[in-house]
């Protein structure tokens, strides 16, 4: 799990759960008939389950293979078309309207927060202000936080200062988790 957490942070946050099928190893994969016991690994396989809990697609490219992401996106659309009609509306995520992210040049933590904004497709809703290039932004963040600390995420009345917390907040606002 720590390895997964680090990888996800390195990506600047991910908008899906990365699960560990490890205690006991491969138990969930086994229940899907995808654990390769003789090799001690799980198959590189993809399963699409509709909202009623019924399997709508199952395929493997073998552990040595590589998935065709464009084809998978097409399959998702197919399943949504064929089985999406009767679905109740999913509550809209809270969103991040009106948020401002303060960053500076050459700062790894700023970079992490910026990556999260990109990976979560928030370019339109989270404004970026760079205190290295914009003196007004420096004044603004100093006023908000009482110090010259970035990254800082101003969201409504709240201000967050740790990149990990910023990533967590953005993910949670986007996904509703």
């Amino acid at each position: 799990m720590h390895c997964h957490a680090n990888w996800a942070a390195g990506m600047g946050g991910i908008s899906f759960p990365l699960l560990a099928d490890f205690h006991p190893k491969g138990a969930v994969a086994s229940s899907y008939g995808l654990y390769l016991a003789e090799k001690g690994i799980t198959d590189r396989a993809t399963v699409i389950i509709d909202a009623d809990g019924v399997v709508r697609h199952a395929s493997s490219v073998t552990p040595a293979g590589s998935r065709d992401i464009a084809a998978l996106a097409g399959l998702c659309e197919e399943v949504a078309r064929a089985h999406g009609g009767a679905l109740p509306a999913v509550p809209a995520p809270v969103g991040v309207t009106g948020a401002t992210l303060f960053v500076k040049n050459g700062c790894g933590f700023s970079r992490t927060a910026l990556l999260a904004r990109t990976n979560l497709h928030l370019e339109q809703s989270v404004q970026v202000k760079n205190i290295s290039e914009d003196p007004a932004a420096l004044t603004e963040v100093t006023k908000l936080t009482g110090k010259e600390q970035v990254p800082a995420l101003a969201l409504g009345e709240s201000v967050q200062l740790e990149s990990a917390e910023i990533v967590k907040t953005l993910v949670s606002r986007v996904t509703g988790w």
């Binding site: 799990m1 990365l18 099928d21 019924v54």
Partner: protein, 44 residues
């Protein structure tokens, strides 16, 4: 391998932030895609 039309076995596993995630929590709300990987840091 599980077959199209089968009922998907439920599970609860920890995600990368330590949260418990169940297949059941998406029931009636969203379709779910499971991407199984043999190892970390391997291709798509």
């Amino acid at each position: 391998m599980i077959q199209v039309g089968d009922r998907a076995p439920d599970f609860t596993l920890a995600d990368h932030l330590g949260r418990q995630v169940s297949l059941a929590q998406f029931r009636g709300k969203q379709h779910v895609m499971l991407l199984f990987y043999p190892l970390d840091f391997t291709p798509t």
